[in-house]
């Protein structure tokens, strides 16, 4: 085996050292000749005789060189090199064609590579620095379908204690949270960083060893944290960080370890520090009571499968375990169902991400298909033009396989150009995406590198595309029967004409379908948040304040009360209010509500409104109309009747056909159940999340009656009376009340929504520009192929005219034929597009019905393009003198 490899290697190196090997042979032959001459002279020959005899004896040097070359290298590689050289010359001679093809392919391949890069980063690549990532699993509480929900600390302890199929069971919060950082002697004002709460075995299970220090202390109650390398560099520079004391939300922690540079995060959000779970309450990261609550839903578990144990075995064990746990300590809610799935940086959202990326990939594949049909069209046209050349080569003895190979090499070369350009396009898209990600309010840790998977994907894709779009033209061109093709270049049989027709119609179909889908998709995305969000974001400024960061656990309510009072006094403030969550943001708050009197079995129905905690005046400040009832008032306080305001959709869902006013909602809180009187119905606001459903209804609770304890972070919503910015004034007010309080965000609501819609915006603009690019590409392709087809018929038109046909009738005939093809194509495209849209809408909620104007406009556009493509060349053809046309070919 090695011997063969060695030989191949030697031959290959010989190939590239062709000239050197030739020179060496020359030298050897000269020495050979010299020695022979010496011998002959020694035997008495004259100098001249010896020279002649030696030359004869040795044979023709050119022949030796040829046979030597044959022996030392692969003939086929040499041939391929010659083919490539010929193809390169050909491409250089037709720069317009080469550019068209390269640009088509760059768009087609580049788009696919870009989507694949994202898919690779999100779905396929293991986080950098994690050992044997394929053996890691996420464990979550499943409910209903494949949804992944976090679970609680008691359940974590039970799983860790009982499992026999997994080792190193750890728990972590779903995402890192923002927290304040102060370092004694280094920072003057608190900085905002992101920290993830984990159990102390987290890194040993992941297989990530700290680069410095020993990591977490074995005692889970030691206030010792692990920091990222980025954090160390940012705050300690080159001085040692291990052993230093930092304050997180005011509580002191010792740095126990620094992670290696290459490890960023095992989830999507990048963290700066990792805090032991049991010490988190001291930094107000977790409410201590939460650790005891079995029904809580805030921790995601993970573990490593024991060697040789398949995932299915772990899941089988988890099913039994869930049942046992429910029997031991019934939670009263829906039955526990623990599920293990391969670890992912987007746990639970993997399938959503896969569906979205799948849709994008399908769209991109259609773009590539259009690009390929373009290329096929161009190549077909060129193949026809080259029939003469092929016929000549065939008649002087070239093998047909050889010709096909030549043509395929040309195509492959085109596609190599295309894929290189495609990767360049993908890099540009990725850079734009990276810039967009950097603008998000949380640090995103997703690597989108150009790794081997991406390169293999791009190369494979272009190879398939090249063979797919190059083979047919190659076969057709090489089939030229020499005698026939040499005699007459014109026309071609009915088979050729039919092929061309199918081609033009097919291209029109794919293009129309693609534009159709692009339009639908874009409209769905735009619809998801842009048009009428159900509130008025103009002139509203928002400032988020996180009290847990100030190290001030209690006395929240008085603080909020004073704060909002002071903000209302600021000049330029028309109205100001507080809210727990904002529409269109990333954050939603779950609520446990059901209409009073609902049987327990139905308590967990699929309708789950979002929750929000607000102060009086919220609806006015946000511009959300109240459809019935009243706003919260200053008299809705603890002690008075607990009240709630519900969204329109929730009201109609809970009390269909009845007024919601005066009805009661049963609200489950950590302190038990309570009844809420519905005092108002608000118009629904639009959420920006595309997959969840467009209009998520909201149930509002008054801040003064809050029993959920979720009020550590609130957002000041202030509507300005003028154009003056309020942010600076609000900032000053906050710091005047508590100088240690970092302000999480300040921005206008408009920007905040835009940020929330960013992913959709990006996708929508990509799709829209793709649709446009596609339409242009397809138009070019159709124009090229039809005009070429018509120009080939010049001779036919000459005959027709010689036989008495008028110019007008020929023009009409050509236009009719062109229009027919385009109409058939557009019809098929519309059918394809609406079929695909039906599939699309099953994934996306609230996709509006298609816009008949845009779609029929597109179809009509393609018909016109098809006709225009026929008209130009046909006109030129019929203006030619019939005799000249007949003689021309």
């Amino acid at each position: 085996m090695t011997a063969i490899l060695l030989r191949v290697l030697r031959r290959a190196t010989n190939l590239f050292r062709a000239s050197r090997a030739d020179a060496e042979l020359e030298r050897e032959l000269a020495s050979h000749r010299g020695m022979m001459e010496d011998d002959l002279r020694r035997r008495g020959s004259s100098v001249a005789d010896a020279r002649r005899a030696a030359r004869l004896q040795l044979g023709d040097p050119a022949a030796i060189r040829d046979r030597h070359r044959d022996a030392r290298s692969f003939a086929w590689i040499d041939d391929a090199r010659r083919d490539a050289g010929y193809a390169l010359r050909l491409l250089r001679r037709t720069p317009a064609l080469t550019a068209t093809v390269a640009v088509s392919l760059a768009i087609g391949i580049g788009g696919n590579v870009a989507v694949f890069t994202v898919a690779n980063g999100l779905l396929f690549r293991a986080p950098v620095g994690v050992a044997n990532a394929e053996r890691l699993v996420d464990i979550a509480a499943g409910r209903g379908g494949a949804a992944v929900n976090p679970t609680s600390y008691p359940i974590y302890r039970d799983v860790a204690r009982h499992t026999t199929t997994m080792t190193g069971v750890y728990a972590r919060t779903m995402f890192p949270h923002a927290m304040s950082l102060t370092i004694p002697g280094r920072t003057s004002t608190p900085a905002r960083i992101f920290g993830q709460t984990v159990t102390t075995n987290y890194f040993s299970t992941l297989g990530v060893a700290p680069a410095e220090g020993s990591g977490f202390d074995l005692d889970e109650r030691t206030a010792s944290i692990v920091v990222s390398d980025r954090f160390r560099r940012a705050w300690f520079g080159s001085s040692p960080a291990v052993g230093r004391i930092v304050h997180l939300n005011g509580a002191p922690f010792t740095i126990g370890g620094v992670l290696p540079t290459r490890f960023r995060s095992a989830s999507l959000v990048e963290a700066d520090v990792w805090v032991p779970l049991l010490t988190a309450p001291s930094a107000h990261l977790v409410d201590r009571r939460r650790l005891e609550e079995r029904r809580g839903a805030w921790l995601l578990l993970g573990a490593r499968l024991k060697p040789g144990v398949p995932l299915a075995a772990a899941n089988a064990e988890l099913i039994l375990l869930s049942r046992d746990l429910d029997r031991e300590s019934p939670s009263g809610a829906a039955p526990l169902r623990l599920v293990a799935a391969p670890a992912s940086i987007v746990p639970g959202n993997r399938s959503i991400a896969a569906v979205l990326l799948g849709i994008l990939m399908a769209l991109m594949s259609l773009v590539l298909l259009v690009a390929c049909t373009n290329v096929t069209g161009v190549l077909l046209a060129r193949a026809e033009a080259r029939r003469h050349e092929m016929a000549v080569r065939l008649s002087i003895g070239a093998g047909r396989a050889r010709l096909i190979r030549q043509l395929l090499v040309e195509t492959l070369l085109l596609f190599t150009l295309g894929s290189v350009a495609g990767i360049a396009v993908a890099r540009i898209v990725m850079r734009a995406l990276a810039a967009a990600l950097a603008a998000l309010p949380v640090p995103i840790a997703v690597d989108l590198p150009l790794d081997w998977r991406v390169v293999v994907f791009a190369a494979g894709l272009s190879a398939i595309a090249a063979i797919g779009s190059g083979l047919v033209p190659a076969l057709r061109a090489s089939r030229a029967a020499p005698a026939l093709a040499l005699k007459s270049e014109s026309g071609g049989g009915s088979g050729r004409a039919r092929m061309r027709s199918v081609f033009v119609a097919g291209q029109a179909a794919v293009s129309v379908a693609l534009v159709f889908i692009a339009v639908t998709f874009t409209r769905a995305l735009v619809f998801a948040g842009a048009t009428d969000p159900g509130y008025d974001p103009r002139g509203v400024e928002i400032v988020s304040v996180d009290l847990s960061m100030g190290g001030d656990g209690g006395a929240r309510l008085p603080f909020w009360r004073t704060l909002i009072e002071r903000v209302r006094q600021l000049p330029g403030v028309e109205s100001a209010t507080l809210a727990r969550a904002l529409p269109g943001g990333f954050e939603t708050m779950g609520v446990g509500v059901a209409p009073a009197g609902t049987p327990v079995a139905n308590a967990l129905d699929s309708f789950e409104p979002d929750g929000n905690i607000v102060t009086p005046g919220y609806f006015a400040a946000m511009g959300i109309p109240l459809l019935a009832g009243r706003d919260f008032t200053a008299s809705d306080v603890l002690g008075s009747t607990p009240v709630a305001i519900v969204g329109d959709a929730a009201a109609r869902h809970y009390w269909p056909g009845r007024s919601a006013l005066g009805q009661y909602l049963e609200h489950t809180t950590p302190q038990g159940k309570q009844m809420l009187l519905v005092v108002g119905v608000a118009r629904d606001v639009r959420s920006s999340t595309l997959i969840d459903g467009v209009a998520q209804s909201v149930v509002y609770f008054p801040l003064e009656q809050d029993r959920s304890g979720l009020t550590s972070t609130m957002t000041i919503v202030a509507r300005a009376s003028g154009s003056r910015s309020l942010a600076a004034g609000i900032r000053t007010t906050v710091s005047a009340m508590n100088p240690n309080l970092p302000i999480v965000t300040t921005e206008t609501l408009h920007d905040a929504i835009a940020l929330g819609l960013l992913p959709q915006r990006v996708v929508a603009s990509i799709t829209a520009s793709l649709g446009l690019a596609c339409a242009v590409l397809a138009a070019l392709g159709i124009y090229g192929v039809s005009s070429f087809a018509v120009s080939r018929r010049t001779r036919e038109f000459g005959i027709r005219m010689a036989l008495g046909a008028s110019r007008g009738s020929i023009l009409t005939m050509v236009l009719r034929q062109g229009a027919l093809l385009a109409v058939v194509g557009a019809g098929v495209g519309l059918a394809m597009g609406s079929g695909a849209t039906r599939v699309l809408t099953s994934f996306l909620f609230g996709v509006p019905p298609f816009d008949p104007l845009v779609v029929t406009g597109t179809a009509l556009g393609f018909v016109l393009i098809g006709m225009a493509a026929c008209y130009g060349p046909a006109r030129r053809a019929v203006t030619v003198d019939p005799l000249a046309a007949l003689r021309r070919e």
Binding site: R10, L29, S31, H32, M36, G59, P61, I64, R72
Partner: protein, 117 residues
Amino acid sequence: MTSKDSGKRVELLQGTLDLIVLRVLATMGPQHAYGIASRLEQVADDPFTLNQGTLYPALVRLEQKGFIKGAWKTTENNREARFYTITKAGTAALGEETERWRRFSGMVNKLLLSESE
């Protein structure tokens, strides 16, 4: 050398030249192409002559298979020439190929003799 002579040049069977070259190198030690050619002429019976140029493709083939190794050296007459040495792999191949040739030629001989009777 006349055209009559060149007509008598022996066309060697495909592959046999490689075997012969290996044999020569194994017997005589390192040799240059001319040396190999001279040895062949010396060994062969009267009108046998070899187109010496055909040695070169054979040499490059053998070298690529790793059966021989070439290196530039000076002859005793102070000319530089490429000397070929048989390698271990070459010696092994020589043994196998010789055995195969024996069987093959034996069979051909037998066949030719029995048919001519």
